[in-house]
Symmetry: C2
Subunit: 335 residues, 2 copies
């Protein structure tokens, strides 16, 4: 740990992405819902891997991607997530540490292997994810380092933590410690299918102010309130009285508080390659702005820039220094 | 194997690339010669990995990259190379087969692990490679499938095969079978350091017509003839009386026969990201033209296009269908 105070701590599923290109037909043949994340067991993961094409392997995981993005923006970060002590686990640990993130969650020395997400990228740049949770199923409250949670100004959590059995207990424990220390708690709703699985619990987290900041895309926000009308969903969310950042792909984002709804345009890109990590990196930029005292519009612009970088190449981790990338595009992360 | 006749068979080191960005200072600190390929043992590979940044893992290997490129250009291909039955080995086998390449070399069930190449990409797009040969050291003449060699119109070999102890015996066996069957034999000189190690043997291969086609870049050609003057090296090569294709980065390539020296300009690119695989993919395009009866200029243009695609992203395997990419850029692979 640097002597400087930690700024953002992330808690999430520690996953290695295995990314291949696929035609839309492939998704249909294998019964995969385009754009979503499906949970699969190890045997299904092996079957799918054997069917999919030549792959690129890059560390992933939703909250982990966000934390790495924050680190690339110059924010002091730490991550908590469960790996097995296998080849994939060691490479995940290597990558996140080399990205400047404090990471000390002990490896599981037995049980299931490190989690994999088989990501299929269709020609339109959309990604369809198939996750074998593996070792993430062993994340629990005992993995929460109270000192780290108290130290971080923002605790960032992913909705996907509701999938493994004990992780939501870790989530709740961490959120309680954060609030007791006067810190903020942020949650990404992860995806529309995840919301379908845990809608009532997510609404309860928001309504009981277990979370202060919510990230969602437009589909997720509509799913949360079970409406096909985006404006109604925005209105419903506004009444919750927590800060929301809702991404709308090429239409940029809406930042929602009880009092204002602010539209921030998307950052221009040259070529869409792979949308994997777009939401994760938007959250990174937005939180970087927030934790360093930017106004909401600048935080939204930082989110848009970080997302723009990551969708122009394969994989959900930035390929350039995001602080420099943002500065080159006219917006600096405050010191 | 498809019922159709095999067109190109590649023999090379089967390697998984572990690619990270690095500043020039990193190369200096670790004593790495920029642009070259250094052989390292497993302990040194682990030390270097622990020092380098967050990495992307993609199947590689020089001849293997060429063969995958040929397959992407619609050429019927096979590959011979040695893997261990570990995680990296299984992913290499998956990737090359899913790229449409016939690959049946048996895994080693003991001995060293699958080979890794730690690739450091500097901000100028140049790559510096550090190879742990691992299981490749067990490739030998017994791995050569005579039937496949006889069937392929062109046998493609990498100079790096001189590094593991028994692979050059496999190389010589395969070349003899190919010539006896009336097929052509192509060799890439691999890199200037490789030529330093085996200059006399490579010259002997050329002068005894063990090889009919030679791939090199300008540095390698100068190294072969131990001259700092490129024109002298070209003149010396012309006298050998074999076909040569010499790449010159952004200056395109020279195609050299005893009678003509043909300059073909490079294909334009938008942004140089990572030169890994540039030479390998040039060879793929050139051989695709050659085996399908293109004239030398069109073969050179196909080589330039395939190289242009691969240097605009990380990794040495194409990210698009190269046959379509070539057609979109005005040159088709003949049927």
């Amino acid at each position: 740990m640097p002597a400087d105070k930690l700024e953002v701590l992330g808690l999430g599923n520690a996953i290695v992405d295995v990314i291949a290109q696929a035609e839309d037909d492939f998704l249909v043949t294998h019964g995969l819902a385009k754009g979503g994340m499906m949970l699969i067991d190890e045997a299904a993961a092996l079957r799918l891997y054997n069917s999919m094409g030549s792959a690129t392997v890059i560390s992933g995981g939703s909250a982990a991607n966000t934390i790495v993005g924050l680190s690339s923006l110059g924010i002091r970060t730490a991550f908590v997530g469960k790996l097995r002590d296998d080849e994939a686990g060691r490479s995940f640990a290597h990558d996140i540490r080399k990205s400047g993130v404090h990471f000390e969650t002990p490896f599981a020395s037995d049980g299931p292997s490190t989690a994999r997400c088989l990501v299929l990228v269709t020609p339109d740049g959309e990604r369809t994810m198939n996750t074998y949770l593996g070792a993430c199923q062993n994340l629990g409250p005992e993995d929460i380092d109270e000192k780290l949670v108290r130290e971080a100004s923002i605790l960032y959590l992913e909705g996907y933590l509701w999938d493994p059995p004990a992780a939501k207990e870790a989530f709740k424990k961490a959120a309680a410690i954060a609030h007791a220390a006067g810190n903020q708690v942020a949650l990404t709703l992860s995806d529309a299918f995840c919301i379908d699985r845990y809608r009532e619990e997510f609404l309860e987290l928001i309504r009981h102010k277990v979370v202060d900041i919510v990230f969602a895309n437009q589909h997720e926000l509509k799913s949360l309130y079970q409406t096909s009308d985006f404006d109604s969903a925005v209105a419903a969310f506004r009444n919750e009285g927590v800060l929301g950042a809702v991404t709308r792909s090429e239409d940029g984002c809406l930042i929602i508080t009880r009092d204002v709804t602010l539209a921030v345009p998307a950052s221009p890109i040259e070529k869409l390659v792979d949308t994997t990590g777009a939401g994760d990196l938007f959250a990174a930029g937005f939180l970087a702005g927030l934790v360093r005292g930017s106004d909401l519009r600048d935080a939204g612009r930082l989110g848009g820039l970080a997302a723009a970088e990551v969708i122009q190449h394969y994989g959900a981790r930035p390929q350039v220094n995001l602080a420099s990338y943002a500065a080159d595009n006219g917006i600096s992360v405050p010191a």
